[in-house]
């Protein structure tokens, strides 16, 4: 009868993993000061940078075009002073053997560091490396200062090297090499701040809250574009007009280099903000406080069937919250419950809702609640709460109950699974998209179709699982790249898999999960593990519930699958495995080191660093160094990439455990390639451990 109290705004939603789209549709208003972004997607004027920084944790996507150059940039403010960017550019009318239909595609990375923040008496100063990895088409370094004055006027001046020192040079520091290190893809440290340097600068004027006009003097001569493309700029003076929407989206129009026109759009999102903070999920059931003295009544312990009745009551109560009760160990003063949480991305919220439901189902004498969340039948932790605390602290700060909560190892703690729940069969049929972004030859390739998935749970921790895809359309198979490789072709035949694998058996596996000992977690998977490999995969993880450190070992013996992705195999088989260390630094940063042997038999290590947010966002980068020589590895020299995980709860504004990860690999090569097996342990385990639970505790009472 009552359909109100809904947020007045309709949530805009999107089913596309494209970050730009998600940001464009779901980004909340940017609360902090306005930063203007340039054609490179960096804080800047038109083509030149400024010393401003985005607010911490801002993710930006910029799509720009000026003359023949189209640039798409994803930028992230890694810390308040450090920012990074990845750019994919397409240069039209470019004469190069690497051009595809006259378009030369190039990828580049930037890093910027804010040396000095602006004060009343001094400007902000930033040092930046542009296109510092790779072929260096956009390679340039700069030191830039920006100062704002009254009436919205901001003045910028800087000195640039490389590309940014190619017009109007006033001096020279050493010589700048043009030779490539390795096979490209290596930091071009031998060029930084070398060669000619030239001044650049400009002025911007914020006409009002929304509009800014900009003028700059560019020190970029577009030398390469003059030589190999049709750039014929006649002036170093560029002019621009920004319009910034309330959401933070910036639209700009430019007149550049005397005869070029440009336009850009930038979406900026602070990952620590949300359209609906705290989510729109339904209210939890309130705590039911016991009458005074009721706790002393132990009469129920003599009642036949009381335990089963309690189980059924709690099962219904948890189902009401989208949670699943699978086991109950009920004693006079203590109850241990075994639950599954398919709904809440915030695990503390799942624990909080379980605790409240327990106050309504448990006999009054039960004082200690132990909640054991399980994933794939394995107990992840035991969260112990006192019922008196739950009753007493329901309406105070969430911190208070955290101080009374004990999280312990759940080894041998989980009650057995209730009869009748397993075996269990689940299935789904849903559309899928497979996206390949920023391929060296094409900005976006995608396939879409239908995916049929089925899981048969023989026991809570033993699962047969399969998924089949049928393509409906797309152009992933149009990739005509046939990369040369001096290594076994463990990944570079991806186009053949896409062409021939229709329909395809994506996965068909049997997996078993377990708790072999205190602080230990295990996984055993056998079958068609991923689209290119089948075999056996085993994993063992050690993690204390309250520790930021985890150690793991994964051993796999795999055989390469036929391109048609049916049951057959090719004649490449190998051992691959890693020892891993994971560490949560506690300031939102999370690191991982994997050392071992990769699919092509090369030996080495992968280093990863992610910044993670309690609302589920993750932004990170990784690099893999192996004994495969740069020559054997080929273009790019070594494997590296960035990844962005978008939490569906943030996009939808309501509880969800799903997360879409967009991985941007520099190039798909055969060196440093890892098996892509499902359900690696660490991600499952840490969700229910401290410090992760603590960080999310604000939603305990949500």
């Amino acid at each position: 009868m009552l359909d109100f109290f809904r947020s007045g705004k309709v949530l805009k939603r999107s089913s596309v993993s494209g970050i730009a789209l998600v940001l464009a549709l779901a980004s909340p208003a940017m609360p902090e000061g306005r930063v203007s972004y340039n054609l490179y997607g960096s804080p800047g004027l038109v083509d030149m940078p400024t010393a401003n920084e985005s607010p911490d944790a801002t993710l930006t996507t910029t799509i720009s075009k000026v003359g023949d150059a189209q640039r798409t940039t994803i930028g992230f403010q890694i810390t308040p002073r450090l920012s990074g960017a990845f750019r994919y550019s397409g240069l039209s009318n470019y004469t190069s053997p690497a051009s595809v239909k006259g378009v030369y595609y190039d990828r580049s990375f930037d890093l910027r560091y804010n040396l000095l923040t602006e004060t009343a008496s001094r400007p902000a100063v930033t040092i930046g490396l542009q296109d510092f990895i790779g072929t260096g088409l956009y390679g340039g370094e700069y030191v830039v200062a920006t100062k704002s004055f009254a009436k919205g006027i901001t003045v910028t001046g800087g000195v640039g090297w490389g590309r940014l020192g190619s017009h109007g040079a006033i001096g020279k520091t050493g010589t700048r090499t043009a030779e490539l290190l390795g096979q490209g893809g290596i930091p071009t440290y031998d060029r930084w701040f070398r060669g000619d340097f030239a001044p650049f600068g400009g002025v911007s004027w914020a006409v009002n809250d929304r509009m800014t006009v900009k003028a700059e003097y560019s020190s970029d001569n577009y030398t390469t574009e003059r030589k190999d493309a049709q750039f014929n700029g006649t002036s170093p003076w560029n002019f621009g007009l920004d319009y910034t929407f309330k959401s933070g989206t910036q639209l700009s129009l430019y007149h550049a280099y005397g005869n070029q026109f440009g336009a850009q759009v930038t979406f900026a999102t602070d990952l620590r903000s949300a359209k609906i903070p705290g989510g729109l999920e339904k209210a939890p059931v309130p705590v039911l406080v016991r009458p005074v003295g009721a706790a002393k009544d132990l009469g129920w312990t003599q009642e036949a069937g009381k335990r089963d009745a309690t189980f059924q009551a709690l099962k219904a109560g948890l189902a009401n919250e989208g949670l699943v009760l699978e086991g109950l160990d009920l004693k006079a003063q203590r109850a241990v419950v075994r639950i599954r949480n398919p709904r809440y991305g915030n695990e503390a919220e799942a624990i909080g809702r379980t605790a409240r439901a327990m106050t309504r189902a448990m006999p009054a004498s039960v004082e200690t609640f132990v909640i054991v969340p399980t994933v794939n039948g394995s107990a992840m932790s035991g969260v112990e709460l006192q019922r008196t605390d739950i009753e007493r602290l329901e309406h105070v700060e969430a911190k208070a109950i955290l101080q009374k909560t004990v999280v312990r190892d759940a080894f041998k703690l989980a009650p057995p699974v209730e009869k009748g729940i397993y075996p269990k069969f689940t299935w789904s049929l849903a559309p899928y998209t497979k996206l390949s972004v920023f391929d060296p030859n094409s900005p976006v390739r995608a396939d879409f179709g239908a995916r049929l998935k089925a899981d048969f749970w023989v026991a809570p921790n033993l699962r047969l699982s399969g998924s089949i895809t049928k393509k409906v359309g797309g152009n992933l198979d149009k990739s005509n790249r046939n990369d040369k490789s001096n290594l076994p072709r463990v990944r570079t035949d991806y186009a053949k898999y896409s062409i021939q694998g229709d329909p395809a058996i994506e996965r068909l596996t049997m997996s078993a999960y377990g708790r072999p000992g205190p602080n230990l977690y295990s996984r055993f998977t056998v079958g068609y593990l991923e689209e290119m490999y089948g075999g056996v995969s085993t994993e063992l993880l050690w993690k204390r519930v309250n520790s930021p450190l985890a150690l793991g070992v994964e051993l796999n013996y795999v055989k390469q699958r036929d391109f048609d992705q049916m049951f057959g195999f090719r004649n490449y088989e190998t051992f691959t495995g890693h020892a891993s260390a994971y560490y949560a630094f506690g300031n939102g940063f999370h690191g991982q080191v994997d050392v071992g042997q990769y699919l092509a038999g090369d030996v080495g290590a992968t280093l990863s660093l992610d910044r993670e947010f309690a609302n589920g966002w993750r932004v990170g980068a990784y690099a893999t160094f192996t004994d495969a020589s740069f020559e054997d590895f080929g273009e790019g020299s070594f494997d590296k990439g960035i990844r962005i995980a978008i939490p569906m709860q943030w996009v939808l504004g309501t509880a969800s455990r799903q997360r879409n990860t967009v991985q941007i690999q520099s190039l798909t090569r055969d060196g440093g390639a890892r098996l892509s097996v499902n359900d690696r342990l660490y991600e499952q385990v840490r969700d229910y451990h401290q410090p992760e639970l603590d960080k999310q505790w604000g939603k305990f009472w949500r």
């Binding site: 009868m1 009552l2 359909d3 109100f4 109290f5 809904r6 947020s7 007045g8 705004k9 309709v10 949530l11 805009k12 939603r13 999107s14 089913s15 909340p28 602070d270 990952l271 620590r272 903000s273 949300a274 609906i276 903070p277 705290g278 989510g279 729109l280 999920e281 339904k282 209210a283 309130p286 705590v287 039911l288 406080v289 398919p342 709904r343 009753e391 309406h395 105070v396 700060e397 969430a398 689940t426 299935w427 789904s428 049929l429 849903a430 559309p431 899928y432 049929l452 998935k453 899981d455 309690a614 569906m648 996009v651 939808l652 504004g653 799903q658 604000g698 939603k699 009472w701 949500r702």
Partner: protein, 227 residues
């Protein structure tokens, strides 16, 4: 088993036709999102923006259907009203719920938390303010309200509230028919400046209020229809 396969087959056709995705799995990738998109597209903006006003008949009906306390609450900037019935008591706190499973908790008639409204008021340290307002005395009281930020981390606004006593006025709503004193709390602190108003009955119970409950919802008006 055969029948269930047939059923799956049939449903698959339906699912594919709808391009929506289906199944009995709890965590189907993309399904939720797809449905949400479709719903949003079909519903459009207008549907959600319809103001909702509770007609007097509905109020009478609700009061007749229960003997529990009932509140009428309006979120001003959404122009949406709801009837709330008491569903739980914990010490001095009473929790009321709408039929849409949103809840509001009151301390002596003062809202101390909300759930399910979006940008919920997570908790309040309101005992001193509530006591002062209930005593119908002018004075100063501390007041803290807590929310989750976009990252789901708790933040608090801490205020000092200057409470002033205003005039007496009749309060007639639902089963309530009495005279109340208007108490105004002007609060300054970490958050936006607030002016909350409370109508306090003879026994110190807050019968009606207009108070700020968060950045998204703004001010909410509450009115006891039965205590």
């Amino acid at each position: 088993m055969i029948r269930s396969f047939k059923k799956i087959g049939l449903m698959s056709v339906v699912c594919a036709a709808l391009l929506a995705g289906c199944g009995n799995s709890e965590d189907v990738a993309g399904m939720k999102l797809f449905r949400a998109t479709a719903t949003a597209a079909f519903k459009g903006k207008r549907a959600a923006k319809q103001p909702t006003v509770i007609p007097p008949q509905a109020i009478a009906q609700a009061l007749g259907a229960t003997t529990q306390p009932v509140f009428l609450v309006e979120i001003e900037n959404r122009k949406a009203q709801a009837l709330l019935l008491e569903i739980a008591k914990n010490g001095a706190y009473s929790t009321f719920a709408t039929s849409e499973r949103q809840t509001i908790t009151f301390l002596n008639g003062m809202i101390t938390s909300t759930r399910g409204l979006g940008d919920d008021l997570m908790s309040s340290d309101a005992a001193k303010l509530s006591d002062l307002v209930g005593s119908k005395q002018s004075g100063v009281a501390p007041y803290t309200i807590r929310f989750l930020n976009g990252e789901d981390i708790t933040y608090a606004y801490t205020y000092q509230c200057r409470v002033t006593r205003g005039s007496k006025m009749p309060v007639i709503a639902g089963m309530v028919n009495t005279t109340a004193t208007l108490m105004t709390a002007d609060c300054k602190g970490d958050g936006p400046d607030l002016q909350n108003r409370y109508l306090v009955g003879a026994n110190g119970q807050i019968l009606g209020a207009r108070q700020w409950i968060g950045n998204l919802a703004g001010y909410a008006s509450s009115q006891a229809l039965r205590l």
